[in-house]
């Protein structure tokens, strides 16, 4: 796989929840400073893959290495402290808190000066959030919510950012905006793992890609290459090519 040095390596992961196994023998290398896209139909195991990386799923077999260190058994909050950030697909903001409080939470362990600086950066990327600072996050529109969710991750200046279907349920125009924002982040040097069902949209902005179906990796490579493959559609459904 092309790109920078690997920041995260998954080796022969079989994982799921409790007794249930969703992923089988997954190998994944995430290069630093690039956008790695995970695509696949629903039920393929994309969310479980991100949960596995963040320690929210049960690992049956295999190991997760982060910056060369085995973190297979590390609790999620400790992973967050190690520089990982995860934007969940659903319930990814605190809806009873104000927008500002949501953002504050992400910077609670930083010095005030630094926190303010980072918040300004966020407001530059998403000016609408600045206007809505004192509003309850629950009152935001769908697109604004996603922006807030991504901002929360961004504020932590994570070394590795996991995004789970940030465009789910968004109108095409909004989805496009969100994708563009992610590309911008990628250009700024963030390392991102983006799980998306919207394969076309995601592959267009990604650097690398893996396609999973039925809990297994079906294809991998440069995002652009995958996008151009004629048999993509069939692979996508996990069918024999």
């Amino acid at each position: 796989m092309a790109g920078g040095e690997p920041i995260l390596v998954l080796e022969k992961i079989t994982s799921g929840y409790g007794k249930f196994q969703i992923l089988f023998d997954i190998d994944l290398v995430v290069p630093k400073g690039q956008v790695t896209v995970v695509v696949g139909p629903n039920g393929a195991g994309k969310t479980t893959l991100l949960n596995t990386i963040f320690g929210l799923a049960t690992i049956h077999k295999g190991s997760v290495k982060y910056k060369g260190q085995d973190i297979t058994g590390v609790p999620p909050y400790a992973r967050a402290k190690m520089g990982m950030a995860y934007t969940l697909q659903l319930f990814n903001i605190f809806s009873t808190l104000t927008v500002r409080e949501n953002l504050l939470l992400a910077t609670y362990d930083l010095p005030e000066e630094e926190a303010r600086k980072r918040m300004e950066e966020v407001f530059q990327l998403f000016p609408v959030l600045k206007e809505r600072q004192s509003q309850r996050a629950g009152t935001l529109s769908g697109g604004e919510r996603e922006m807030l969710a991504i901002s929360i991750s961004m504020l932590r200046k994570p070394e590795l950012m996991l995004l789970d279907e940030p465009t789910a349920g968004l109108a095409p125009k909004l989805a496009k905006e969100v994708f563009e924002a992610i590309r911008q982040l990628g250009d700024q040097g963030y390392t991102i793992v983006l799980a998306e069902q919207n394969a076309k949209g995601a592959l267009e902005i990604g650097d690398n890609a893996v396609l999973i179906a039925g809990g297994r990796v079906v294809a991998r490579g440069r995002a652009q290459e995958l996008l151009e493959r004629k048999d993509l559609a069939k692979m996508y459904l996990g069918l024999e090519v």
Binding site: Q21, P41, N42, K200, G201, G215, R216, G238
Partner: protein, 267 residues
């Protein structure tokens, strides 16, 4: 296994259809979840229902099983209009659904799980049970026979006295099927039988379904995301997108349909 689509479609005409829907419409607020859906489930067949998230699969199942009442359209089962029937009435008529995440009776043994599934009746009255065994004894004996027969069919007979908690993910899915059989269901609607199960086991589940189709004359409607595993076992397939049926036919044909593939991949 390979039936050409023409063959099947022509045979559909003659063959009995166990359940069909006619232009079912269901709205939630402003959203149209089902937009004139008509499906036919041929008797003794495994029918696959696919589609991306939010395409309306679960809503359709909820309408068929009586959990939702459609705004327009009808549901017919064995020639009878069952639109708007209460769920438990529909269950008693022989339509049973299993859960995506199996819901076994955890502290009951595998055998007990099946025995509970017998059709409801007066032999389950606690007051009579306090007075005498006679009210239920003979029936219970028959039920146990039947349950063991089913367990054998499912390959679970060795585990009959184990608690349901001790079963594997695939075992739990099969247990659900077993309960459905015990309840004398004729049409079993399964929600993602392969989810959370490793592929080898998933194939076992589907071949068990085929065996049941042939030996017990059952009809299956299967919602499944892992199309690669399910497709070879299905006799017929429907694909949904945005509340409509966008393709139907033998699985191979449906899976090669451009509209189906695009619905999955997105814009």
């Amino acid at each position: 296994m390979t039936i050409s689509s023409q063959e099947l479609e022509s045979s559909l005409e003659e063959q009995e259809v166990i359940l069909w829907t006619e232009r079912v419409v269901k709205r939630f607020g402003g959203i149209v979840a089902l937009d004139g859906v008509s499906v036919k489930l041929p008797r003794k067949k495994i029918v696959l229902l696919i589609g991306p998230n939010g395409s309306g699969k679960t809503t359709l199942v909820n309408v068929i099983t009586g959990f939702l009442v459609p705004e327009e359209g009808r549901v017919y089962y064995m020639g009878r209009d069952i639109t708007g029937f209460k769920p438990h009435i529909i269950t008693r008529m022989g339509i049973l659904r299993t859960f995506q995440i199996p819901k076994p009776f955890l502290n009951l043994t595998v055998l007990e799980n099946l025995l509970v599934a017998q059709p409801p009746g007066s032999y389950e009255s606690p007051y009579r049970a306090l007075l005498s065994k006679r009210i239920w004894l003979s029936r219970e004996k028959k039920n146990v026979e039947k349950a063991f027969e089913i367990l054998k069919l499912l390959g679970l007979e060795g585990l009959w006295d184990q608690r349901a908690t001790s079963l594997s993910g695939a075992g739990l899915k099969l247990l659900e099927v077993g309960r459905a059989l015990m309840s004398d269901a004729k049409l079993i609607i399964m929600d993602e039988p392969a989810a959370g199960v490793n592929p080898a086991k998933a194939h076992e589940i589907f071949s068990t379904l085929q065996k049941l189709r042939d030996e017990k004359n059952l009809t299956f409607l299967v919602i499944e995301h892992r199309i690669d595993i399910a497709a070879p076992y299905a006799d017929y397939a429907y694909a949904m997108h945005l509340g409509r049926i966008i393709s139907e036919g033998v699985p191979q044909k449906v899976l090669n349909d451009r509209a189906v593939i695009e619905s999955y991949i997105g814009a």
